[in-house]
């Protein structure tokens, strides 16, 4: 049980970072929700992917990217920025335009004397799979980004996608407490007092956050994303990035529990809340299992 992943700063919005491994085959990108954070929201994926690698060996072959964005602005521009990050992070090489780990791994640091501290660059292989993991509004940003990716393509391009498009539209989507069916903004804080204190504070703030309120059930933004995604799900049933698997806590009091037509249904987690649902611990392994669930079927060597 040793450290498998090593942390690295990567280009992208302030706070974005990655955990790289020696021979990655899978890239997992985490997108937090409003008022979330790329470190605390996903805590402790960062440690448990190494500590539990004997049980979940796929994590040992996965690079983890923790995307950060400010909790302001609308879904569309936030999704555009996220796509820009994906484009920058995964450079394409070779005849098949395959996606490689970013050039920042490994990285260097210039000391005041001008001396450079570096580690040698190693030859790396392209990723075989991309998993996009979203929490709360992070999931909505991912869904909008997928639509932006697909919109300009013809049916033929979608079905025979290569290069950039192939990597993203064949991604797997794993959502924790997604806000894609709407946010609850009318709840009473007094009803939440059995939950953790950060959950109350988050609810207090989200219930009056203008952007979050704009994602209430029936909001035009959410309705448009749902309608367009479901139409595409019907037309392209084999495109994995159109179908999500979502995991909700039975005690969620921030978003409505629900899925899109062709999404995969998943039982709720009995004791989990909106924020605890995506935080694995040594007493709660489900988030670790959930993200990589079914990957072996997609990538035989894994």
């Amino acid at each position: 049980m040793n450290l498998v992943h090593f942390p690295a700063s990567i280009s992208g919005p302030e706070g974005t970072y990655a955990l790289f491994t020696e021979k990655p085959e899978v890239a997992v990108v985490f997108v937090h929700g409003f008022l979330g954070d790329p470190r605390k929201t996903w805590y402790n994926f960062q440690g448990l992917v190494d500590e539990l690698q004997a049980s979940y060996h796929v994590w040992g072959r996965s690079d983890l990217f923790f995307y950060s964005y400010p909790s302001r602005g609308q879904i569309k521009p936030l999704a555009e920025q996220f796509r820009e990050f994906l484009d920058q992070t995964f450079p394409r090489h070779g005849r098949n335009q395959q996606f490689y780990p970013p050039p920042q791994r490994p990285q260097g640091y210039a000391l005041p004397s001008g001396r450079m501290m570096t580690v040698p660059t190693k030859q790396s292989s392209p990723y075989k799979l991309l998993i996009l993991v979203g929490h709360s509004t992070g999931a909505v940003i991912i869904r909008e980004a997928i639509l932006q990716e697909i919109r300009p393509l013809t049916a033929e391009q979608i079905n025979n996608a290569t290069g950039n498009n192939a990597f993203i539209i064949n991604a797997l989507l794993r959502f924790f407490a997604p806000a894609h069916r709407g946010a609850m903004c009318s709840g009473l804080i007094g009803a939440l007092l059995h939950l953790s204190v950060s959950e109350w504070l988050l609810a207090l703030m989200l219930y009056s956050n203008p952007l979050f309120v704009s994602l209430q059930k029936g909001s035009p933004v959410l309705e448009d994303i749902k309608k367009e995604t479901e139409e595409l799900q019907d037309k392209f049933p084999n495109i994995s990035a159109l179908k999500a698997i979502s995991l909700f806590g039975a005690k969620d009091s921030i978003v409505y529990i629900g899925k899109y037509k062709a999404d995969v249904d998943c039982p709720t987690e009995p004791n989990q809340t909106h924020t605890s649902i995506c935080k694995p611990s040594k007493d709660y392994f489900r988030p670790l299992e959930f993200v990589i669930d079914g990957i072996s079927a997609r990538t035989a060597s894994l």
């Binding site: 049980m1 954070d37 490994p106 990285q107 804080i189 504070l201 207090l204």
Partner: protein
Amino acid sequence: MALVQERQVSNLIFFLRDRWQFVCQDAAASEKNIFLSQEYLSCAVLESFFWLDLGVQTTYFPKPEARRVTYEYFPQFLKAYEHIQEKLLIQKFSPPLQRILDSEFSGRTELFSLTEGVNNLPEETLIPLQAVLLLGNGFARDRDTQTITDSLVFKSTPEWNDVMREFKEVNEKAKPGSKRFVQARDAMSSTVLKIVQYMECFRDLLLDFDKATNVSESRRTADTATLKQRIKEIQAWQLDFRERLVFDRFLEFLQLALELWGHGAKDGPIEHRTRITPAIVRAVRVLMTDWGAPPLALEVGAS
């Protein structure tokens, strides 16, 4: 990157990029820094040094490269050390940390030779250590939490009252829903949220530390207990609730943030004031005990 040494160098490079370069930039411009006091910046520089030292003692960082980094930035470290000595702030750090400073900056011993009980740890402890560092770096470079920490710990009473006066005025005079009101309310509550989330994550991390992945076996040892203690000590200066002044200020800030929410509370102002605010304050108060606050029962005088 199969070699252990390469992995260690990579860890160090990330530490420098993720924490040190921000601390160093702020400290280098400390005289002109309008956000943070020199006291705060000096403690932040020394905290970085303690992480560097802990990383070396646990073999997370490579000793030769960590020494090189220390030599290159020695003027900053020394300036910070001298500043906290001059301002009598050395007590902000625990006795083992004080001994490390004394040893490392005295020039009497080889750099990183004083282990203070943290050495030869099992390699598996590097996993939670890396997770702690990731979490701690995020907290340390957040401007909102930096500013409030500085105010809580280092501002004089008149300066602190000035900070709070503005928020109190908003609470008493600004129209709920006005731009001024919303800005003040959101600024205060997002800061409180960040601190509370951090305290929660940190508590969970320490609880998880001893649990083996096989739940029937605990891996609690004297070594991990020492490591946990050191991790707590290194960060303790930021939210030092052992100090009555810091303790009282944080609760004052929290109460006021909650009062601002009470104006537009859907639960109703009375419910908010009589049930919600006390419940939230009590829950935060429990979290504060991990950071040196006395147990809740002691404070209320329960037997």
